[in-house]
């Protein structure tokens, strides 16, 4: 337990029959930058809401620095930026940042926060008259004012243009460099790949994969192997080692493989001599799609199986 910044122990959140989060267990260690990656409706926001004491789990236990979420938040241990978080209108940016600074036990000086969030030049503007990107930066400022050891961001770059997004991650890296733990939810795969050193893929409320970006790609069958082969023998190809997905178009074979070397050697060992061999890496996007698609297929399969079972009974 010691050293764990955040733990989820078999956490579920049900709304009636809807299982928004189902048996989620995970552990964040100090200094990690972790991306919570999943499609819309996967349970990312619900999980973060529970971590931040905005919602109560139906079952299971969440701990932040060994405390329950409510007391961790009220002790100022976490700075957060949510999609649904708003700002106080009718005050200036500086007034707002000063207010929230005052709410934290050991805050960053106001000037430092303004500079780090890149809002020192708009500090005297009224909060309700900012552009979308500026608003997003002010919300980011509110997440870092507390100088907290854990920062939680829910889809932080949603309303940002490319340039603002770049600036955002630059200042985020500054935060992480000082030893903070960062947890962010995103459905931008590129962002997860570039910013995170650990990715958790969740789909339909469950944790599907947990590892470095490289591991995630590998787990999904992260190499694409293609070649031309006369007289294709599909049953043989389907039995190849490492094969995740097979797609045959005429004489051209496309294979998604978790171990492209082994797959190719097996083809050669069987006496085939394919031509035009190409091996390429899958991006994280395909890896992510492969993992969630596999999960969705399994789910449809089990649902069908259970309805069959009902019919038979």
């Amino acid at each position: 337990m010691s050293g764990a910044v955040v733990t989820f122990d078999n956490v579920s959140k049900h709304y009636g029959s809807l299982k928004a989060v189902e048996g989620l267990s995970l552990e964040l260690r100090a200094g990690e930058t972790v991306a919570l990656l999943g499609p819309n409706g996967a349970g990312k926001s619900t999980s973060l809401d529970m971590l931040l004491a905005l919602r109560k789990p139906t079952s299971g236990k969440i701990r932040m620095f060994g405390k329950d979420p409510y007391h961790a938040v009220k002790n100022g241990l976490v700075g957060a930026m949510l999609q649904s978080g708003g700002l106080m209108p009718e005050v200036t940016v500086r007034e707002l940042v000063t207010l929230v600074t005052g709410l934290h036990p050991k805050p960053e000086p106001v000037a430092t926060t303004l500079r780090r969030a890149g809002i020192d030049k708009i500090a005297d503007q009224r909060v309700d008259r900012l552009s979308g990107g500026q608003t997003q930066r002010v919300r980011f400022a509110l997440a870092i004012v507390g100088k907290c050891d854990l920062i939680v961001l829910d889809e932080p770059t949603t309303a940002m243009d490319v340039e603002t997004r770049r600036l955002f991650w630059a200042s985020m890296k500054e935060e992480v460099a000082s030893g903070k733990t960062l947890l962010f939810a995103t459905h931008y795969l590129e962002e997860a790949d570039q910013a995170a050193d650990r990715i958790m893929v969740i789909n339909r409320g469950r944790l599907l994969a947990d590892g470095t970006p490289a591991e995630i790609k590998e787990r999904a069958g992260a190499k694409r192997l293609s070649f031309r082969l006369e007289k294709v023998n599909e049953p043989f190809l389907l039995g190849l080692p490492g094969l995740v997905n097979l797609d045959v178009r005429g004489n051209v074979v496309h294979i998604q493989s978790s171990d492209s070397d082994a797959t190719l050697y097996a083809v050669l060992d069987a006496g085939y001599r394919p031509t035009e061999i190409e091996v390429s890496s899958l991006g994280l996007e395909q890896a992510f799609l492969a993992i969630t698609a596999e999960d969705d297929r399994a789910n449809v399969g089990s649902a069908a199986a259970s309805s069959n079972a009902k019919e038979m009974a």
């Binding site: 905005l54 005050v91 934290h104």
Partner: protein, 243 residues
């Protein structure tokens, strides 16, 4: 009291001081109405010179409207826009937001009550015992707490676009039936007797006339406060998961 709550209350006050609409409703309107109507009419109503009656009415009007109209709309908006949610992510205690709103609302209604009473004294030539001035000010001021509680109950329960007409309707009924602008006829008064506005105004009138205060009026006002506070607590709790 938690420091964060006081800090937020202070920020709320400085926001309100800049809000023209708010100042117009709670400060300018009662003052203008008093100068234009209250200080000019010279009849006697309910055994009081109209200038005194209207002074009590306008002090109550300013302080109650600020407490109900402003707070209910603000709370609904800030809930919708996520400011309440954002505050929940800070070390501010769970009740801090509501407490700060009530504190700020009570603090900022002081000038409106004080100014209307001063106008009553200097412009309307109202005469009362020194203790009566203070007690009237306190009753009219504390009566606003009832409406602030109602504002929390409404603001946490309804959407911003529903809150405005709903609060206006409730407020209009209370103001008219409570005899805040003019004394009621006998039929309406039978119904109006049970409104918190009527109770606050009647208690103040008794004080102004140096007569004993009807204990039932005080009990009535306290019951309204208890009911609205309970409704507010229910509304806040109902949204605790979804704010």
């Amino acid at each position: 009291m938690n420091d964060g709550t006081l800090l937020l209350a202070r920020a709320e006050i400085s926001r309100l001081r800049r809000n023209r609409r708010y100042l117009l409703m709670t400060l300018a309107l009662p003052i203008i109405l008093y100068l234009v109507i209250g200080a000019q009419v010279t009849t006697v109503v309910d055994g009081l010179p109209f200038a005194a009656y209207y002074m009590i009415g306008m002090a109550a009007f300013g302080s109650f409207s600020g407490a109900l109209m402003n707070n209910s709309v603000r709370i609904a908006q800030e809930r919708k826009e996520g400011w309440i949610r954002q505050l929940r992510l800070t070390p501010l205690p769970a009740r801090g937001y509501v407490v700060a709103k009530l504190l700020a609302s009570m603090a900022i209604s002081i000038p409106s009550v004080v100014i209307v009473l001063l106008l009553g004294h200097f412009v309307g030539h109202v005469h009362m015992a020194a203790s009566a001035w203070i007690l009237v000010a306190i009753v009219v001021w504390l009566g606003a707490l009832t409406f602030a509680a109602l504002a929390v109950a409404i603001g946490y329960r309804f959407q911003p676009d529903q809150v405005q007409p709903l609060a206006t309707l409730i407020y209009f009924i209370f103001i008219v039936l409570g005899g805040v602008f003019f004394p009621l006829g006998s039929t309406l008064e039978k119904i109006g007797k049970f409104t918190p506005t009527y109770e606050a105004v009647t208690i103040s009138i008794s004080l102004a006339k140096s007569q004993p205060v009807d204990g039932l009026m005080i009990v009535g006002l306290v019951i309204w406060l208890a009911v609205f506070v309970s409704l507010a607590a229910l509304s806040v709790r109902a949204t605790a998961e979804a704010v």
